[in-house]
Amino acid sequence: MMGWFVVYYRELILMKKKMGKLGYVFSSVMFPVIYLFAFSWGLGSRLEISGGYIPYLAKGILGITVMLNAFQQTSLSVSVGRMYFKTLQTLILSPIPLIQVAGGLVLAGATRGLLLGGVVYGIAWLIFAVPGLNGAALCGVILAAFFFAALGLVVGLWVAEPDDLSLVNNFLITPMIFFGGSFFPEQHFPVFVRELIAILPLSLVNSLLRLPVWEEAALLKAAGLLVFSCLMLWLGARKLALYSE
């Protein structure tokens, strides 16, 4: 069995155990589902967006769900496993190459992000009859899962205490949620803000999610996300190699 797969398998077993607890799934999808209903009912009839606001919002919320679950699952599980339960020691001491350990952890975080993203988009599809995802959107959502899981790995290995995680959530994740074009188009934002947020990973994901057809610009955005993801994966493996208690 390949080393990365053993690590991935380990994470999936642990995830399966947690998924059995009702609170785990609910707490993971509750926040995006509340936003879905609140914004649909509150703004749905007021915003003029080609294709309709609810499909626009559902895709934005899909991006948020994938980001939150991929990032938080990985950062929390890695940081807690490193600082409190010391379960990360087992992975560090195993003969599996550390790049594969990093790969397995990222893949598991991405899987969780995609699964819960699927649940939330499924709810939107069932209740609001939002359309399915095209190739560009699927590419965006998969890359989002990988990027944010890899970011979670780096952050989980970097933080010195749990408070540092909320720092990243407050200063990086939350601004991306509200400024990254998830809930409403950013066209009314000041120009310099638009230019700044255009390069945020969640903005790239959102633009891929909403592309009607695959085009050259999409390829660039996808390539950007892929490069970011690989960079984060490499950084994660590097942090694992420098692991010292």
């Binding site: 380990r10 339960f85 379960t87 020691q89 560090i92 003969p95 010292s244």
Partner: protein, 263 residues
């Protein structure tokens, strides 16, 4: 200065022919504090070697350096004739690590946890090896019990079983019986004796002098990151009293040496 006196200058590292583990001038400074100070030590194949010392002496840090969980600031570490820092990947399957605290995945059952570690540590063939270890360590009756529900003694038993899964040659035990009742301690001692009888080299830390005396062939006495002495338990007692055949207990000898080392 008497040849039996304990001091940083006279102190001597026992030289072992063909050591399997050799630390040379290992130092570790953590958050501005010297945790391990220029420490040198050799351990021979098949030895049960004990590291004793008061709290904060640097025992666990030294253990983690050997395990590969902590990087020393300077010095050389040689394990099975390989560079313990540069060739860590090749050494990983040869070293078993039993931490002081239970770091098993709490959500898993004992059987699931061992099966998972067998895969992580490539202990082949997986299922027969897991079954063999469960039988050997008498874990079958608790195989379906979740880790979080295990008693301290049972968890320690599973931790040792996990470390043994890939059949390491060097076993590192950090305080293997801390917090356990006397009955369970005896049980763990028996386990350690049987592993030593299989020819494994065992490097352990302990706070219990009776444990050190019962299990260890040789001891190293550590204080504030420095090595005060190495020798057999009998040699440690002799050194404490300054005569060859001493009637003091190892605990009394330990206290004398620690206090003398502080002077």
């Amino acid at each position: 200065m008497s040849s039996l006196s304990v001091s940083h200058t006279t102190l001597a590292m026992d030289l072992v022919p063909n050591p399997v583990l050799e630390l040379k001038n290992i130092s570790k400074i953590y958050q501005g504090r010297t945790v391990v100070d220029n420490l040198s030590l050799q351990i021979g194949a098949g030895e049960v070697f004990g590291l004793v010392g008061p709290n904060g002496a640097g025992k666990t840090t030294l253990m983690k350096i050997i395990a590969g969980l902590s990087q020393p600031c300077s010095g050389r570490l040689t394990i099975f004739n390989r560079d313990g820092l540069a060739e860590r990947a090749q050494l990983k399957p040869l070293i078993g690590w039993v931490p002081q605290d239970n770091n098993l995945e709490r959500e898993l059952t004992v059987r699931e946890a061992l099966a998972l570690y067998a895969r992580l540590f490539a202990a082949r063939p997986f299922q027969p090896r897991v079954q063999q270890i469960m039988t050997e360590f008498n874990l079958e009756s608790i195989g379906e019990r979740r880790i979080e529900l295990l008693s301290g003694g049972m968890a320690r038993r599973v931790l040792i079983a996990r470390a043994i899964l890939p059949e390491p040659k060097l076993l590192l035990l950090d305080e293997p019986t801390v917090g356990l009742d006397p009955d369970v301690r005896q049980d763990i001692w028996q386990l350690i004796r049987s592993l030593a009888a299989q020819g494994k080299t065992i490097f352990m830390t302990t706070h219990y002098m009776d444990e050190a005396e019962q299990l260890c062939d040789r001891l190293a006495l550590l204080k504030a990151g420095s090595l005060l002495m190495t020798g057999t338990p009998a040699a440690m007692k002799s050194m404490a009293e300054g005569k060859p055949h001493s009637a003091v207990t190892l605990e009394a000898a330990f206290l004398r040496l620690i206090r003398r080392g502080a002077e």
